[in-house]
Symmetry: C2
Subunit: 385 residues, 2 copies
């Protein structure tokens, strides 16, 4: 076989995939495994959304849509910012994408040249540095810890900005920590980025999953800001592969031509279904799921702490708890593997999220129901004793 691209050496598979494969093998042997490693809600897509998808299929909606999405969906997303945040947004600024994943790739491809540097928090969503690498830009990860709520701050961005730095990518709330960047910090980071003449990208995929405080969106901050979002998490549509970007108006033609070439369009049935996801009648169903997730967090967090996991601050959003496991094992990959084999609980080693900070941490995703969470705690308690 001829050589592959060198970038492959820099792109890592998710370690959680090995955990998942191991878990499936154990299940095939008849073992009962509790899955706290999976980064998607266990809930199926709510009925009105599914029904809208079915109706679209029955109506023969099976052709390509425009590259930036169905006009009525772009409009509905723009209106959503009006209703939800009181922000008046032109539908033209919305680009519908194949998941937040598609949005992240489009944004990286549109903004960053080879060797351009993008600042990212470590721990963080692992794909981000690989999106950068695919377009031959460079992600520079900055270790963050409990002192800054596991997020970048204006000071960090200012002090880490180098001659090749061209932008910052935040996730608000973040994966794996669920921590939120407050409105004033967000504005302060934006002020630094603006002064430096760079781009601010904010991934708000877990935005509607902030539990007990206001959700500070970056939409509306300025024409150097790109917001990434998705129907995957709050809207419970992971497998449909649909997300969106909120773009500065002047960037729309560039994203349009990139989307035409790279994706042609996002999935049609998902776009029709998403109209129902944004309909007011669906919201109570989504809110009920959100409250269920919050109840899980409120059970799991103190239970993990009681077992001896250290969690610096209560995660304000997403459905993850990022816990220090170094008291039990300083090697989170070994710890996760033993927990799976010996106690039947699958979790994600922190090394998936941070080369700098992940060795002593693990991520618990509360994507199983409360009885299963209680069972997981009981198993861990017996095992750790």
């Amino acid at each position: 076989m001829p050589d592959c691209a060198k970038r492959l050496d820099a792109i890592e598979p998710f370690r959680v995939m090995a955990i998942l494969a191991r878990a499936r093998a154990l299940e095939a042997e008849g073992r009962d495994i509790i899955h706290l490693e999976v980064g998607e809600p266990d809930f199926a897509t709510p009925a009105p959304i599914v029904e809208a998808g079915i109706a679209a299929l029955k109506a023969g909606q099976t052709h390509y849509t425009p590259a930036l999405g169905l006009p009525e969906l772009r409009q509905a997303i723009a209106r959503y910012y009006g209703g939800r945040y009181g922000i008046d947004l032109a539908a033209e600024r919305i680009a519908v994408t194949p998941g937040a994943s598609g949005g992240l790739l489009l944004a990286m491809a549109a903004l960053f040249d080879p060797a351009d540097e993008i600042l990212l928090a470590d721990p963080g969503y692992p794909c981000n540095r690989h999106f950068a690498r695919v377009v031959e830009a460079r992600a520079r990860t900055i270790a963050v810890g409990p002192d800054t709520g596991y997020q970048l701050t204006a000071e960090l961005v200012a002090s880490q900005w180098g001659p090749r730095t061209r932008g910052v990518l935040l996730a608000n709330p973040g994966n794996p920590t669920g921590s939120v960047i407050e409105a004033d910090t967000l504005r302060a980071i934006h002020a630094v980025v603006r002064e430096k003449g760079g781009w601010l990208l904010v991934d708000e995929i877990y935005h509607e999953l902030i539990y007990d405080r206001p959700e500070p969106t970056a939409v509306g901050l300025g024409d150097d800001v790109i917001v990434i979002n998705s129907f995957s998490k709050y809207f419970l549509m992971t497998g449909w592969r649909l997300g969106w970007l909120v773009l500065p108006p002047a960037l729309v033609p560039a994203i349009d031509k990139l989307a035409q070439n790279l994706f042609l369009a996002a999935p049609t049935v998902a776009q029709h279904a998403a109209l129902a996801a944004l309909a007011p009648a669906t919201r109570p169903l989504l809110e009920a799921r959100k409250m269920e997730l919050r109840a899980r967090r409120d059970y799991l967090l103190p239970a993990l702490r009681r077992l001896g996991f250290e969690v610096a601050a209560k995660p304000a959003g997403a459905f993850y708890i990022y816990a220090d496991c170094s008291r039990f094992d300083g090697d989170s990959e070994r710890f996760a593997e033993r927990l799976l084999l010996e106690a039947g609980v699958a979790i994600t080693p922190g090394t998936d999220f941070g080369g700098l900070s992940g060795r002593g941490y693990v991520r618990f995703a509360y994507t199983v129901d409360l009885p299963r969470l209680r069972e997981a705690i009981a198993r861990m308690e017996a095992w750790l004793r």
Copy 2:
């Protein structure tokens, strides 16, 4: 706004988008436009496929699948090569992708480093050079004409191979010409690529739409060959966004980790529906559509020639006719615009497909039914007179 990436200067929007927007505006004014510019069949997805999608949705199949696709779909695609071509293929070698588009991006990202050169035919599918550019590789387009059936040959590949050349991407049949590379030419090209130590990529998205001769697949040629395919065209599933790659076994882990990071997975409902697309009971429906497309070609080709368009050879596949319009106008963009405005027939200027060869050519897509095709010919006849 800060600067964008330099690669944007090299990435062009489809010119056909301007034609399409113009056509829509005319339609909004009440004009009747015949759409021969659209690169997807007018047929809706056949009922058994749609029904399988609906059944999957009803069964709650709304979560992420594995990055390389549902195991049963990978198996079904592998079996398809057995039934269709008599090729025995391991399911592990199949990667399910978000369209052929997703497969092309994965392949480029996995194989080519910055400044690596990929040989492409001009005219050809315009996205290909942009996939290359997004990963900072370079497409080198080689002008091909009627003498080589608008395709690369072993001689061209050998003579154009340079010090930075690392691979060749063919489309068989090609877009916009519908021309086919025969089995012996394919083998000869592969021999050159193998001798040079490069990669051979073959896009077979129109493969099942070859009308009156054998379909020479590149699957099975060797471990330096990657085949790209899709459910979009023959299987009439454009809007579902689903395709696949046939990979050398040793490349599977690389594509897996790239797919995990770039896409997470292909759309779930599409994957379930695709199982029905490959089911034997669906095949007669697809074949009937294919026969309808052939009947359109067999009407349109002589009709265009009669009007004075030159078409070197009967296109053997796809649903396009690439015609020399220079007798009427040497500027195909102006010609297409006038044809739309003055005769109400929308076509694609050749400049979308070839910087080198497109100015005197236009592409007719026979993606409307025979009565509309007849009406288009009548309008053009009156207009050209």
